[in-house]
């Protein structure tokens, strides 16, 4: 547990640092971006991208910051972190041949798996919350003001999608002994989802429609999460966690 926690903690801190490194310049660039937004619209090659810029213009600093941090930062780095932190949980042990010593101790399988699940999930989700908490302070440097409430609701919403992807990777890990294959499959899947997002006629099929700027503007307007979105996302994670427990109970070293 200590070994796993060390590596998970390290990866979580690494994820936070990279998120923050992307967030700081993006936020500080907002005044210039808002000034030249018309030029950006003219440069955008796809109708979907022009639509995003329109939304940023009408949504102001909140739309821009959530677009930069959640839609761009968390949907790319967050998905990568969710995949990398989940696929090794069980498949990594099997791949290294250490699954037998992992399971042979007098600790229940449910406990072993739950510890792994929670540690990895926290390493994915906490950095998103932590970096979100720095946004109001960063905005103050450029004379903008945003309250924590809508930002933290947006962070929670983003985390629900990341948790669902993490849970999928975790479930596949309990079935497999090749973590790399799962990682490639999941990363291919998410890249495909991004590609779908950018194509106007099929954009509504993309998973990332669930965490785009329009969704965050809805959260801001509503002052909380919409059960239409958060319930299915949380349900998927819960179902995959239960499926992981069942698969792990039958797992042979």
């Amino acid at each position: 547990m200590i070994r796993w926690l060390n590596s998970t903690l390290g990866r979580g801190i690494g994820f936070f640092i990279v998120l923050e490194l992307m967030l700081v310049p993006a936020v500080l660039y907002w005044p210039d971006f808002s000034k030249h937004i018309g030029k950006f619209r003219a440069l955008a090659p796809l109708p979907v991208m022009r639509g995003i810029i329109d939304t940023l213009e009408t949504g102001g600093a909140f739309a821009y910051v959530t677009g930069q941090h959640f839609f761009k930062g968390c949907n790319t780095l967050g998905v990568a972190a969710a995949v990398l932190l989940s696929v090794g949980a069980v498949a990594g042990e099997a791949h290294r041949g250490t699954l037998e010593i992992f399971l042979a101790r007098p600790v229940s399988r449910t406990r072993l798996l739950t510890e792994r699940y929670v540690e990895g999930a926290l390493a994915v989700c906490l950095p998103v919350f932590a970096s979100t908490l720095t946004i109001p302070a960063l905005l103050e440097h450029i004379g903008e003001k945003l309250t924590y409430g809508p930002l933290l609701w947006s962070a929670l919403h983003t985390n629900l999608l990341l948790l669902a992807i993490y849970s999928l990777g975790f479930f596949l890990s309990t079935l497999s002994r090749t973590p790399l294959a799962i990682a490639f499959a999941l990363l291919f899947f998410t890249i495909l989802q991004f590609a779908l997002y950018l194509v106007e006629r099929v954009t509504h099929w993309s998973l990332f429609r669930l965490t785009d700027v329009e969704r965050f503007l809805e959260i801001q307007k509503r002052g909380g999460l919409d059960p239409k979105y958060w319930l299915p996302l949380a349900g998927v994670s819960l179902a995959l966690y239960i499926a992981s427990l069942r698969a792990f109970a039958r797992r042979t070293p």
Binding site: G97, I101, P106
Partner: protein, 312 residues
Amino acid sequence: MVEAAAGKIVARGLTRRFGSKLALAPTDLDVGPGGVTGLLGPNGSGKTTLMRMLIGLTKPDAGEASVDGAALEGDGLAIRRRCAYAPGEIALYGELSGAQQLEFLLRGRERDAHARAEDYARRFELPLERRVHAYSHGMKRQLLFAAALAPQVRVRILDEPSEGLDPTKRGVLIELLREDAARGTTILLSSHHLGEVDRVCQRFVFIHGGKVIANESAESTAARARRLLRVAYAPHAGLAQALARAAGELAPHVRSARVRDTELLVELADDDPRGVLERLTRFDGVGAPTALEFGRASLQELYRDLYGVEAC
């Protein structure tokens, strides 16, 4: 429900298939309380599968088991709390030091188990401060053994604990096993190094092709080895058929008789070979024996000659 007694390992009809391969045919086992039992057999014979099933690492397709009074149920946690296990696989976390690896292996054990494990590791002269990736194969094996010996339990299940050890370290291991058995611990020990196992075991269970083919005390096994008669003949046309006929004729008068190449292998029913030797002179078509050996077979030769199985 199987008998659940303190210090005993009991299995009834334990069975496991991996796909179409029968890894373990319905198996009954009674070990202990106390003493060292050797689970012997060649690689792939089903020893590890049986041991893993006994502690809940592999779910049986059928059958039931109990270890130290705890029934095999769910994920086998109740059993793992009552017995210590040394796995056959020696993959460890290379990034951990020996001491940290012991801490990992002893999670869920009593507080002073770690100190005892370090004591055992010191008897093997293991550098516990060094990272495990610098350990040799034998050192990793010793570390696993030290961890399995540390918990205060009544049953230990040890999968190939001596594999990869040099003769000196193997001697230390046997000494530690004897000390543990003297405290009344029940030890089920798998090995395919028969020469060493027969020094420490009071009972042997021989497993081959997923089936238990012999289960007897060390004395009885040694007596059987002493009663093994091996008669060699010069090869010639028709020898195979003549030997098969001779084995058939001998069978009612001995415990077993079989042919291997140009040899007739006979396990006598008692210590007196004279009756069988007298019969040997009357067989047609085999010719005169070129060599005859009696009373010198090792345990390894016994299994090879009687079951046609290379145990080592």
